[in-house]
């Protein structure tokens, strides 16, 4: 059942077009994450759903109702801002009660709702405090509490964790995931952090320069990226790309040439082989975590530049012709800079893209 629908939404400021036509739908209870680099328009899109920015073109529906030109307060959405945006002169209780008071709910109900939210978020002891007397994590909780007391149709989060330190961030991430599960509410979450996107989302919308690059579940995006942008954006460290040349294409066998390949050649087994022509460029993608060091049948043969030990694993920086290749090796392999790295990979984990960057 479609709960939130964006229908060819566009946004421009004068001549500058920021969102160039975004369409997607979300079902009730779904956790959707907008992800993309800075300036891709993900926050603008979220603010348009909230009603804080005007929609230049297109239609927006929440719960079957056209709200494209509806006032923010009448859309029944709530938003958690990056800066938390708590009312500085009100204490925690008043901050959470404000929306209900504005909706003229009876005081007893307001108290019950706020206390319930405070219990869920463990804010009971802080209700009398002013925001300035709270830590970043506590403020974040109050901001979330303020949005849950109103039982909105839609929860919006605008990079809510980016002002927190790393430890608190992963803790809050888990809490948001739990909250989503217990409330069963529809949530739209904006982040530039692909780890947050991967861990929280039911579905991820990858945006670049105002356009949707791909929509899919986290595993879909990881396993079947539509193009090199998505492939490089999802996963950390970033996927390695090698620009190879097609030497021959016969049946489902695609023979690729590049000096980095062991023996200068790589035989990729793909159904798309028939569409490739000899001499074409094919971009070969390999994730750092899929490459294995010291294998009997090496696929890549490279020179090690340097190694970074992370304790449990080691990041190896190797050099292919021009392009650096990163390998995430488990343990601490005994290697020195200058050593030759023979790297193996499961053929299923080789990604192929055409010269334009689209998946083959």
């Amino acid at each position: 059942m479609t709960f939130l629908r964006l229908d060819n939404i566009k946004k421009s400021y004068g001549d500058a077009s920021v969102i160039k036509g975004v369409s997607f739908t979300a079902t009730k209870g779904e956790f959707v994450v907008f992800v993309g680099p800075s300036g891709c328009g993900k926050s603008t899109l979220l603010r348009m759903i909230a009603g804080l920015e005007d929609v230049s073109e297109g239609q927006l529906y929440i719960d079957g109702k056209d709200v494209t030109y509806e006032e923010p307060a009448k859309r029944e959405v709530s938003m958690v801002f990056q800066s938390y945006a708590l009312y500085p002169h009100m204490n925690v209780f008043e901050n959470m009660a404000f929306g209900l008071r504005m909706a003229k709910r009876p005081e007893a109900e307001i108290k019950a709702q706020v206390m319930e939210a405070a219990r869920i978020l463990q804010l009971e002891a802080l209700l009398e405090r002013k925001p300035r007397a709270l830590s970043g994590g506590q403020r974040q909780r109050v901001a979330i509490g303020r949005s849950i007391v109103r039982h909105p149709k839609l929860f919006l989060f605008d990079e809510p964790l980016s002002n927190l330190d790393a430890e608190l961030r992963s803790q809050m991430r888990v809490e948001i995931a739990k909250l989503h599960r217990s409330l069963g509410a529809t949530m739209v979450y904006v982040t530039h952090d692909q780890v947050e996107a991967m861990t929280l989302a039911d579905r991820i919308v990858v945006l670049r320069a105002g356009l949707v690059e791909q929509i899919g579940s986290p595993t879909e995006l990881y396993d079947k990226p539509a193009n090199t942008f998505v492939a490089g954006f999802i996963g950390s460290p970033k996927m390695n790309f090698i620009n190879a040349r097609v030497a021959s294409a016969m049946g489902s066998s695609l023979l690729l040439e590049h000096p980095s390949f062991a023996g200068g050649k790589l035989d990729a087994d793909t159904a798309a082989a028939s569409r490739a022509k000899v001499g074409d460029t094919v971009i070969v993608g390999m994730r750092p975590e899929h490459l294995t060091v010291g294998t009997a049948q090496p696929v890549l043969s490279l020179t090690l530049d340097f190694a970074e030990s992370l304790g449990g694993s080691t990041q190896l920086y190797a050099r292919s012709e021009g392009e650096p290749v990163i390998v995430l090796a488990s343990g601490r392999p005994e290697l020195k800079p200058g050593d030759t790295l023979n790297l193996g990979i499961d053929p299923r984990h080789i990604y192929l893209f055409n010269a334009a960057g689209l998946a083959l």
Binding site: A50, P72, M79, S83, F98
Partner: protein
Amino acid sequence: MSEAMRTAPTKPNRGYGRWTPLWFLAPAVLTLFLIGIYPTLFALVTSFRRYNITRPREGFPFVGFENYIGVLTDSTFWSSLFLTAKFYVTVLPIQVVLGLIIALLLHKPGMGFLKSLARVTLVVPLATTYAVVGLIGRLIFNRDFGVANQFLGFAGFGPVDWLSTPGGAFAAIVIMDVWQWTPFCALLFLAGLSMVPGEIEEAARLETSSKLALLRHVQLPYLLPGLTAIMILRSADVLKLFDMVFVMTRGGPGSATDLISIYIQRVGFRIFDLGTASAQAILLLIITIIISRLYIRLLYREV
């Protein structure tokens, strides 16, 4: 210097000595002393003396609190003070409300150039000398060729003799004061409104569609410091308001616009009873300080 360096090599040459800050402060302190502190102290001393400079042969003996008792039992002093208070409570609400409306209009997004122009225009009345405001007022409210009566004529009313009727004269000085000071309120409120973080305003817009609720619950706390400043500055200013009224009405007709500072001026520089005038001025200073402290106590809140 080089000798000192050689004998005490561990001490770095900071380029300034113990007394250097003093020399930087001295001009400001000296100026303040000459134009502020000394006259105030002089007035304080004078207020305890019989000091009528038209009768120097009687000398200027100390008379204790005689001047203060005289002032406090002078019904004209009290009626002038009352008139000043009436003037203040008339102009202040008008200025605050009009200023707030202007600030809210200028705070709305859009029309950037016109808004900058409006902001610059707001400074013009503030930059105008009080005496000039009075002169302009005299022209505007002239019975025969003033623009005020011209407009009343357009609306179908007969000419009003503004400056020679008690009500008209009071209204005229109120209007000129509102003209001069509303922009100041608008600018302070505008500064307050722009202090409200954008995301907080947006958070409130998601919770209520009422502009009034937004103003009352979210923006008002940011306006209170400005409002306190306005009330303090305006009460001090109204208590010393002299030039504009003096030029327009000289306190008349009768005592219709005889504000406290005009009365003190008459006592001090027409009757030349400087002792009494000083006592009046000191009392005024005390009133100003008390009122300011009250405002800060009652209104001012850290956001």
